[in-house]
């Protein structure tokens, strides 16, 4: 692949590549020498990274005269001594002078000892005052071939010459660089390659598709179904970039018939790859891998040991090695550790040979990974018989018996315990495990609910979307989505989500109730009242709905209706302080001052005793007061400031909210000016009133000159937004 293509499909590892290039550069230009070892299982993209670094270094004009690059072939078999390594390095130097070529040939005429000395001298001579960049893949195999003696000589060469920097790869850390008894212990700086996440895989696939000019595939990958397909590949491939690349061409095939045959052909093609990977294992390790292939779910050490007739201790150490080699994953849930094959595709491929009863288990596995339960249902109904139907049926059956996975039960227990103990962070951690293991719509809803309680709103929103991607009709997911959006002040979308929840569950009274709140936030009080009506219809003893219905009426200046609703709320729950507060505010707003004053003082006392912030605001009072006799304003406002002294924000918020009424045609300019002046006179020395007073002044000016944009210049951008929201007007761009 040419360098530009390599760059164009490079994802996730830019920081690593840049750092490696920097280190090589430093090694070439200064006496410092870095030796880097890229660690990653087969198919993780080591060669891609190395190639990219090689091309970048080669393209650096200022290094040209100072660097010599020797890139050994990936499978350099037969390096069994330091002499052979020297010869391979000499041959790999690019470009190699023909005269040097002849001198290399001459080395074969010498005894091994003489050839070694001469090869070393020749290499040193060729390097001269430059730096040799030695690129070698599978360093573990190279070290194995070199043995202790060869490694000692390599170390001595590196130390004595001081002119070599190494970029190497290996599937895992190995004894030669890890054991203190080995000559090159600690010489290499390991760089571990991470698996691709689903998002990074999408990025990779989009780049591959762009490179192949497959614009349709690029567009498909951006759709929810495209993303779901990538998640299926992630499940099958375990984050292995090589498998993603292979799968790229299958992603956009929509009809099952189009998919099955090529997929089976792919499995045929991949089977030798996985079989060759089995050859790297000891017989005990193969036995464990085979057991895990047969087993659908992850297994504990105890299970594996029992089924393979080996001791737990041996099983543990073999599993440790398998993990390092990238064959298995370990997952800890509570005190239990579960082991599973890292790439489920390996199970599918290796399992192919075992099918005897006419059903292909791998096909069932594939269908389950590829399609959601809803899609399986749909396909099952559409395809009535034959090979595919049979497998769809099995896939559907299996997708209904997920709870057999032992990890699910453990997760559910732990989630419950954490919930009971109020350990929110731990609860979320186990729910996240559950979504990874099982990932049903309900699991995602659990996750969203927990994230919402932790106020991780954006994350909760993603969880809701994930739930809905699996089950579009999950009303809890719609409901929680609404809650998140509400907390993010995205009221229109909030309302739409509740409407969806209600669509899928028509008696969802909480959704009606929250829809009412969202509509109030949008200033749609009449629709809000209808929504509360529906909530009450399905749950008549719903004090919060009655209370909110009342306050919505009050916003429409229907104080009598408001009071009736709130009294119903109090009747249902006499200790419902929010309703008691609303009742007091409405009485005051209705100018039943004596009655209201006693009530509000009692309510504020209740809040103070319980150390809670007052839940309402004084809007209902101020809204009413603004329509009343202005001669009483001075004393009434003074009362309010005194009563609400422990909760001044209730009054300041109410004052800002009441600006909407202030600018309405119902209030004359003279009355509005008097209202403004009264508040200024009474509160201009109180620090917490400074912002509301500024907003009040601008509101008054706006009332007087609504078309003059200079009015808004009195406020900062943030203040402008607050007032515009309170007045229910769109933003006004100041003119130059």
């Amino acid at each position: 692949m040419n360098p530009a293509d390599l760059e164009s499909i490079f994802v996730q590892r830019e920081a690593i590549a840049a750092d490696l290039v920097d280190r090589i550069r430093e090694s070439v230009l200064t006496p410092t020498k870095h030796h880097s070892l890229i660690i990653g299982a087969r198919g993780m993209g080591k060669t891609h990274l190395v190639s990219l670094v090689y091309h970048r270094v080669q393209a650096m004009a200022d290094l040209k005269e100072r660097i010599l690059i020797a890139w050994l072939r990936e499978e350099e078999w037969g390096i069994t001594s330091f002499l052979k390594l020297l010869l391979r390095i000499l041959r790999a130097i690019d470009p190699l002078d023909p005269a040097i070529q002849q001198r290399i040939e001459a080395l074969y005429e010498l005894s091994p000892a003489e050839a070694e000395q001469s090869a070393m001298s020749l290499l040193t001579e060729i390097i001269g005052d430059r730096t040799l960049l030695l690129i070698t893949e599978n360093l573990d195999d190279l070290f194995k071939g070199l043995g202790d003696r060869g490694q000692q000589q390599l170390r001595a060469f590196l130390q004595n010459s001081g002119c070599c920097t190494i970029l190497a790869t290996a599937p895992r850390l190995f004894n030669g660089v890890q054991s203190r008894n080995k000559p090159l212990y600690g010489f290499f700086r390991p760089v571990r390659l991470q698996e691709l996440t689903a998002a990074e895989a999408v990025q990779l696939l989009i780049r591959i598709a762009s490179l192949r000019e497959q614009t349709e595939l690029v567009d498909f990958l951006k759709t929810p179904m495209g993303k779901a397909r990538v998640q299926a590949v992630e499940h099958l491939a375990g984050g292995n970039p090589r498998i993603y690349v292979i799968f790229a061409e299958f992603l956009s095939r929509e009809s099952l018939e189009e998919l099955v045959q090529p997929f089976m052909a792919l499995l045929d093609a991949l089977t030798p790859y996985y079989q060759s990977r089995m050859q790297y294992l000891s017989s005990q390790q193969r036995e464990i891998v085979e057991f895990l292939c047969d087993r659908k779910y992850p297994a504990t050490v105890k299970d594996i040991a029992q089924r393979c007739f080996i001791t737990s201790q041996t099983t543990s150490s073999q599993l440790k090695e398998l993990k390092e080699k990238g064959y298995v994953n370990v997952e800890s849930i509570g005190r239990e550790s579960f082991y599973a094959l890292k790439e489920p595709l390996m199970r599918i491929c290796l399992g192919m040979k075992k099918e005897r009863d006419g059903t292909l288990k791998f096909m069932v596995d594939f269908l389950r990974a590829w399609y959601s339960k809803d899609e399986l249902d749909m396909l099952h109904q559409r395809i009535s018989d034959g090979f595919v139907h049979k497998h769809l049926e099995l896939a559907l059956q299996e997708s209904n018996i997920n709870e057999k996975d032992p990890r699910v039960a453990i997760c559910l227990d732990l989630i419950k315990s954490c919930y009971d103990l109020g350990l929110l962070d731990d609860e979320l951690q186990y729910i996240q495990k559950l979504t990874t293991i099982r990932g049903t719509g309900e699991d995602w809803v659990k996750q969203a609910s927990c994230q919402l309680r932790l106020e991780q709103l954006k994350e909760a929103l993603i969880s809701c979307d994930n739930a809905l991607a699996i089950e579009i009709g999950n009303c809890n997911a719609w409901y929680l989505r609404g809650c998140c959006l509400g907390m993010l002040n995205r009221y229109k979308e909030e309302a739409t989500s509740y409407i969806q929840a209600i669509f899928y569950q028509p008696d969802f009274y909480n959704a009606y109730y929250n829809l009412g709140i969202a509509l109030v936030s949008l200033g749609h009080y009449e629709e809000a009242i209808s929504s509360y009506d529906m909530a009450i219809r399905f749950k008549p003893d719903f004090p919060q709905a009655w209370n909110n219905r009342g306050t919505a009426f009050a916003r429409l200046d229907h104080y009598e209706d408001a009071l009736t609703c709130i009294e119903k709320a109090i009747k249902i729950d006499p200790n419902y302080v929010d309703a008691l507060g609303s009742q007091a505010e409405i009485l005051l707003g209705m100018n039943r001052w004596n009655e209201g004053s006693e009530a509000i003082k009692n309510v504020l006392n209740l809040f103070q005793k319980t150390n809670k912030s007052y839940s309402g605001d004084a809007y209902l009072i101020l809204n009413g007061l603004l329509s009343q006799d202005s001669s009483q304003w001075q004393s009434r406002i003074t009362d309010l400031i005194n009563w609400f002294d422990p909760f001044p924000t209730a009054v300041t918020n109410g004052l800002v909210s009441a600006c909407k009424k202030l600018i309405s045609p119902l209030i004359s300019d003279t009355t509005a000016t008097l209202w403004h002046d009264t508040w200024h006179e009474l509160t201009h020395q109180l620090p917490e009133y400074q912002l509301p007073l500024r907003l009040l002044t601008t509101a008054l000016h706006y009332k007087q000159k609504p078309d003059d944009p200079r009015v808004w210049m009195e406020l900062s951008i943030e203040e402008r937004k607050i007032l515009q929201q309170a007045l229910g007007i769109d933003s006004v761009a100041p003119r130059d």
Partner: protein
């Protein structure tokens, strides 16, 4: 400055060693040097810095001897290094060239010696050094890294007598040439090689004319400075992190490089806890990069079987002791253990001496014994199930 655990550092990147190097130059004014330290403590970096920045009028040569397995290969290496400096000088190496011609019956070019002269390696080595010293007015210092490893190789392949001959020949050369100095360094203690020789009655005081010096961890300020330089190079800016790193890895420069390197590769936000997590992983994860299991395994490899239980007993006891232990207390605690009842004071002293030379333990001012590095103590305690 980038973290570079295990790579080769430029001389100006070897921080915090100036005081040590000044002292070593002082020692070298009068005698040769045996430089010891735990592996990855930075011996090679120290001697490479000395080689890169020698004092005036001084000829210094660095060579890693690890890959050599015969006395003749050693002589070839010396010849090669000497030839580099004497080439072009009048009559340079005339003595050794004449000797080689006489021994092999033909002109020997280059520095690859014919097999036929193998038995005369001592004479060739002596002549080579003689030629060099004749041409040099100032002091000549050979920095021979991994000398014990070469001796061990030779010991295994050719036997103790040959190894002993190398040591005695080198001692003799040091005594003959007043301006000749040698610096031996190595990750396995020379005492392990010499002990094997003692058993066959061949050991003499082959290195007792050399001053022994240990490369210790850095001073706190230097370790902190190194950590800070590396953190800056890695673009990590967390308050008080440098000191935390330095202290948590016992001020050992390699580990400081390593920790910063691991921090740089972390995906999650870096805090002081990240340092603790990396250390814990390296101490307790069996597939860690620090290979802590080596501290247990090498006792079986290098210690005589009857001594092994005593060595383990001492380390177990010191691992669980919060403070240091004086000799009588340590002896008393060990003797109550059923498998160590036959341990007497003399044997305990021998074991303590060995453990001290292998950098497991150290002595505090009053002579009481304590683990040399808290990091190893921490590992020992956990890996041995001592709480």
């Amino acid at each position: 400055m980038k973290p570079n655990p295990g790579g080769q550092l430029a001389a100006d990147e070897v921080l915090g060693r100036d005081k040590l190097i000044a002292r070593l130059w002082q020692v070298l004014e009068r005698q040769s040097l045996l430089l010891t330290a735990e592996r990855r403590m930075g011996k090679t970096s120290v001697i490479k810095k000395m080689t890169a920045q020698p004092l005036p009028q001084m000829l210094v040569k660095f060579r890693d001897l690890e890959g050599l397995r015969t006395p003749l290969e050693f002589v070839e290496a010396v010849l090669h290094d000497v030839q580099q400096d004497l080439s072009g000088k009048e009559r340079a190496m005339g003595g050794v060239r004449a000797l080689l011609k006489e021994l092999s019956g033909a002109e020997v070019k280059g520095f690859k010696l014919p097999k036929s002269v193998e038995q005369h390696w001592k004479t060739i080595l002596t002549k080579t050094i003689e030629d060099l010293m004749t041409q040099q007015d100032g002091m000549v210092i050979f920095f021979w890294d991994e000398m014990p490893m070469m001796l061990d190789n030779i010991n295994r392949d050719l036997g103790e007598t040959v190894t002993m001959e190398i040591l005695t020949t080198l001692r003799s050369l040091r005594q003959t040439h007043s301006n000749l100095r040698m610096v031996f360094t190595g990750s396995i203690g020379l005492h392990h090689v010499v002990t094997q020789l003692k058993k066959v009655g061949a050991a003499g005081a082959t290195t007792n004319d050399m001053h022994q010096e240990e490369v210790t961890p850095l001073e706190l300020d230097d370790a902190q400075l190194l950590a800070q330089e590396l953190l800056t190079g890695a673009k990590i800016d967390v308050k008080d992190l440098a000191r935390s790193i330095a202290e948590s890895v016992d001020l050992v420069p390699y580990y400081i490089h390593h920790i910063v390197d691991e921090l740089q590769q972390l995906k999650s936000p870096i805090t002081r806890k990240s340092v603790a997590d990396i250390i814990l992983d390296n101490l307790y994860n069996p597939s860690n990069r620090w290979d802590m299991a080596h501290y247990r395994e090498r006792i079986d490899t290098y210690y005589e079987s009857p001594i092994v239980p005593f060595a383990l007993g001492v380390l177990d006891e010191l691992a669980v002791t919060a403070t240091s232990l004086p000799l009588p207390d340590l002896l008393q605690r060990l003797q109550v253990q059923s498998n160590l009842q036959n341990l007497d004071r003399e044997m305990l002293l021998k074991v303590l001496n060995l453990l001290q030379r292998d950098h497991y333990i150290g002595q505090q001012n009053a002579g009481a014994y304590v683990f040399r590095f808290p990091l190893i103590q921490q590992y020992w305690k956990l890996s041995r199930g001592l709480g």
